[in-house]
Symmetry: C2
Subunit: 151 residues, 2 copies
DNA sequence: GTACTTGCAAACGCTTTGCACTCTC
DNA sequence: GAGAGTGCAAAGCGTTTGCAAGTAC
């Protein structure tokens, strides 16, 4: 478990490969969006990324960012996450170990957490009902230490 | 754990109390929406409920259903759940034991599951990061036995 | 040269809201 | 009768899509 994170150029190559496999084309826009995505951290919305990309190239359209994020997710470079806010968020997809999220409902801070025991129990819970698991999302909502301190 | 489910008239009374406490009024529309909600099962969308209510009274507006569902959720009679579909769903809120959802991504069947061990681990995971948990949502996505059979 | 891509603006689906009217308490 | 609630239609939001022009391969 836990190969180390791919380098920037490995990721670029991976995206190129993905595009080729799907008979899609590499374009300057896609390149810029990929780079902006890789250069950022956390859980970005399409909007976030759009603004970042726009700084580098004001001509890029919002629709292209939406479209490219879908490709990044499909290629595995990005991972869509849903914090029930009504916006899609994306995080880097190369986190080998699955992780879940601990979200402060007051300040929106999020912490990535993981627990092998929980993973294992989830699998067996699914198996007990005859399901083959393809994915899951677990969000724990609460109040973070900092917000608790300022109560 | 596990008081038995409240009766229909207990729930009506609970809603009435909630409204009174908030200085809101009971109306025939709210009554009908509550009844339709209680008479249904599963994970309903506002749309679902709107259609049901409409059969009993075609004059009820969609906005009223949205508004009333929010009240039902706030009062604890309903519980909002999010299966990442882009629609809000509501289930009965009187399930005392917390449960999570196992969702078939092919046929959308959902099964309610619960596991005390997982609950406990979630608590301790949150505590480890100094969070005070206020809620959580866990959705396990997979393929249900029936869909697996027709592969 | 042939698809595939782009930016734009319009359309989308779900949800919320402003309004004039109506009703509950 | 004062304050809430209603239905309607319009607006809001994040996201998707149709299109004509542009571009990677």
């Amino acid at each position: 478990m836990g190969k180390k994170n791919p380098t920037l150029s490995e990721q670029r190559a991976a995206f190129r490969d993905y595009l080729a496999r799907k008979q899609l084309k590499m374009t300057p826009q896609r390149m810029r969006i990929l780079d902006a995505f890789l250069a950022s951290q956390g859980h970005m919305t399409s909007e976030d990324l759009y603004h970042r990309v726009k700084k580098a190239d004001p001509t890029v359209g919002q629709a292209t960012v939406y479209r490219t994020l879908k490709l990044l997710a499909d290629s595995g470079i990005a991972q869509e996450v849903d914090f029930s806010e009504g916006v899609a968020r994306y995080e880097h997809g190369f986190h080998q170990e699955h992780h879940d999220h601990l979200i402060c409902t007051r300040c929106r801070t999020t912490v990535e957490v993981s627990d092998e025991e929980i993973e294992r129990l989830q699998e067996s819970l699914a198996a007990k009902h005859g399901f083959r698991l393809t994915g899951h999302s677990m969000c724990l909502y609460g109040i973070c230490p900092r917000c608790r301190a300022t109560d």
